[in-house]
């Protein structure tokens, strides 16, 4: 039994707590299935798993409304699911089917969903930041109160596009929440081998931008920090840089031999698995029973199995349509 006593109120209500727990678990199970399907050669190309980082995407996404815009990277399964994109459309995309969220044109790295203002899936590291700046510029010029959430990794911080985007967003006070998912590695290159200054949130100073860092393994802490950042940006103070400190449990991609870090290091971090950590706290607080977990697991299994069935049985886009989406057919 834990430190909390009846006297102190819990930091989260049961419904929301179970929701966050379920969201993280959905992502975990979805990606485990994706990895399985990759080894079965149902999925090809690059597959970058988010396993271990679920708390950052799930926690952060709570700060954004359906009106807000999301810009992500090639490691975006978690963001897409947390944004509400159906698992079936994502699985079908990775199968290269016409029913995929990008009609099979993008695959794992390029998820899109106009109806949810999910602007993609950018696989040129740093390439999504200028897009986010532009989306925010459009909102500002049209006096919309919405914000743009821009996710990127620690490796992207070294790119010139990070610097140019931070400066322009701050200079023009644009409503962008920059969310750096610092998992300590850019592929095989450790943070200290690609950043001369490893404190990423400190870099906001160069742009007169506000920033903060948070434990990316604690979903409640991430949610709180992201809501603060989003509120700051929403009320017209300009952009904000939030560093989410996390860790990637799996290899960079399915083709990564993972030679650059020790098993011990990975095991150490797994002790801070965001899902287990949260599960323990919820049990601690008496918000989660054994039966709840079993129930959630079975619902998720059902959802993912049907996503796989959907992907398996969906048609592919006819080859005749190869050039259909290169340019618009009719002017808008």
């Amino acid at each position: 039994m834990g430190t909390n006593t009846i006297s102190e109120p819990l930091p989260v209500d049961r419904e929301h707590a179970l929701f966050l727990f379920r969201e993280m678990l959905r992502i975990r199970r979805f990606e485990e299935k994706a990895a399985e399907m990759y080894t079965l050669q149902k999925i090809h190309g690059f597959l970058h798993l988010y396993i271990g980082e679920e708390a950052t995407g799930v926690g952060a996404m709570q700060a954004f409304t359906p009106d807000d815009a999301i810009v992500a990277t090639y490691r975006e399964h978690g963001h897409a699911l947390a944004r509400g994109m159906p698992a079936s459309a994502l699985m079908a995309e990775m199968y290269g089917k016409a029913t995929g969220c990008s009609h099979g044109h993008g695959g794992s790295m390029h998820f899109f969903d106009a109806s949810r203002r999910f602007y993609g899936g950018y696989a040129i590291v740093g390439g999504g930041l200028p897009i986010a700046v532009g989306l925010a510029l459009a909102d500002k010029m049209q006096d919309r109160k919405r914000v743009t959430a821009c996710f990127f990794g620690d490796g992207a911080v070294a790119e010139g596009e990070f610097h140019e985007s931070m400066n322009l967003a701050a200079l023009w006070k644009l409503p962008v929440v920059f969310l750096c998912e610092n998992n300590l590695y850019a592929m095989g290159t450790a943070l200290a081998r690609h950043q001369s200054q490893i404190n990423i949130s400190l870099k906001a100073q160069s742009y007169g931008m506000d920033s903060s860092s948070v434990d990316g393994m604690d979903v409640l802490a991430v949610e709180a920090a992201a809501k603060q950042a989003a509120a700051f940006v929403r009320s017209g103070n300009g952009p904000f840089l939030l560093e989410l400190r996390t860790y990637r449990f799996r290899a960079h991609s399915m083709s990564d031999p993972d030679l650059y870090r020790t098993k011990e290091e990975i095991e150490e971090w797994k002790k801070r698995d965001p899902i287990s950590l949260f599960e323990v706290r919820l049990r601690d607080w008496g918000l989660l029973a054994e039966s709840d977990v079993a129930h959630i697991e079975s619902e998720i299994t059902a959802e993912i199995d049907s996503a796989v069935r959907f992907a398996e049985t969906s048609p592919v886009e006819p080859v005749e349509d190869l050039l259909k989406d290169v340019c618009a057919r009719v002017k808008p």
Binding site: G120, N167, K324, V326
Partner: protein
């Protein structure tokens, strides 16, 4: 009115008629534009719509893409095509791919204006013609207005396109005098123009070399060689039928292109004539391009690098004797 004023007039008209339109780039506002194209617009439309950017080609082009996704109608100005290399990632990997990559869910109605070309002794980092690289990219349109009327009309038409349009303004054209047509309907971006009809040889060009090519045609006329001059106007899409109709008539062609010869757009036109009009050819298609050297500063060396009237005349002459 000058070519410069025509572009400005089109900008002004677009800014007045469509609140979504704005201009963004280095020194487009307070400085008045490095080629004075946007002079005066800041006063009329204010800093929200005439945006001076930092020296950050990648982000201001990328922000143009994002703003277009977000419902605006951005016009981005890149001072010189050599600088656009710094934005090439956003152009190739984002602007051109987003519609297809998203399965048609998103479009990027962005217009980018880029000053291009040599002839002003600006040397090796300010003088090249890389239109052919842009024309290689599926998903975008590439326009090369060579007349005052096109400088005006193409920009307005480009602003109605649902996909990214790159407009190349050859820097030597800005002082060019001419007329614009104030018509309600938009001009057709997909057609090349026959700037001079002729029977004996087809001279095909675009952008900054149209003037030299027309001079060459006049000169050839003096030698009783009747040259037809085609201004491509748009490199992507390319109006092949106008080219092939002309070649079917003249049976010979010279392509004049300021870019370096190897991998020039002239090569593409030559290859297409080969593919579509081989049996109509009485002589091999010739190319007049720039010498393969980073642009030298010295006047005489730059002149020797660029296509000149004499070289065009000689190339045409070289084909016609074979005739009849």
């Amino acid at each position: 009115m000058t070519y410069r004023e025509a572009v400005r007039a089109a900008l002004r008209k677009a800014l007045r008629s469509d609140p979504r339109v704005f201009l963004m780039g280095e020194d487009v506002g307070r400085y008045g534009g490095s080629f004075a194209v946007s002079h005066g617009l800041l006063d009329e439309f204010g800093p929200e719509r005439i945006r001076d950017t930092p020296l950050s080609e990648s982000v201001f082009v990328g922000a143009g893409i994002g703003a277009a996704l977000g419902g605006m109608r951005p016009i981005v100005e890149i001072m010189t095509v050599n600088f656009s290399m710094l934005a090439m990632d956003q152009i190739l990997n984002n602007a051109a791919t987003l519609r297809h990559m998203s399965g048609g869910q998103f479009g990027v109605p962005l217009v980018v204006r880029i000053a291009t070309g040599g002839g002003r002794q600006m040397a090796a980092q300010h003088s090249h013609s890389l239109e052919v690289w842009y024309a290689h990219i599926p998903g975008i349109k590439v326009l090369t207005p060579a007349t005052v009327a096109d400088a005006y009309g193409m920009l307005l038409a480009a602003l109605q396109e649902p996909d990214p349009v790159f407009i190349f303004e050859h820097a030597t054209l800005y002082p060019l005098e001419g007329e614009i047509e104030e018509t309600a309907e938009l001009i057709d971006l997909n057609r090349a123009a026959v700037r001079r009809p002729g029977r004996d040889v087809t001279l095909i060009t675009y952008g900054g070399t149209l003037g030299k090519t027309l001079q060459a045609a006049e000169h050839l006329a003096g030698e009783a060689i009747d040259a037809e001059v085609i201004d491509l106007r748009s490199l992507r899409p390319l109006d092949t039928s106008t080219i092939m109709d002309s070649v079917a008539k003249t049976h010979r062609a010279v392509i004049v292109d300021e870019s370096w010869r190897t991998g020039s757009f002239a090569a593409e036109v030559s290859a297409q004539i080969m593919e579509l009009a081989f049996d109509n050819l009485d002589a091999p298609v010739a190319r007049v391009c720039s010498a393969e050297v980073p642009m030298p500063y010295a006047k005489h060396l730059e002149a020797a690098t660029l296509p000149q009237v004499e070289g065009i005349v000689n190339a045409a002459r070289g084909l016609v004797p074979r005739h009849g």
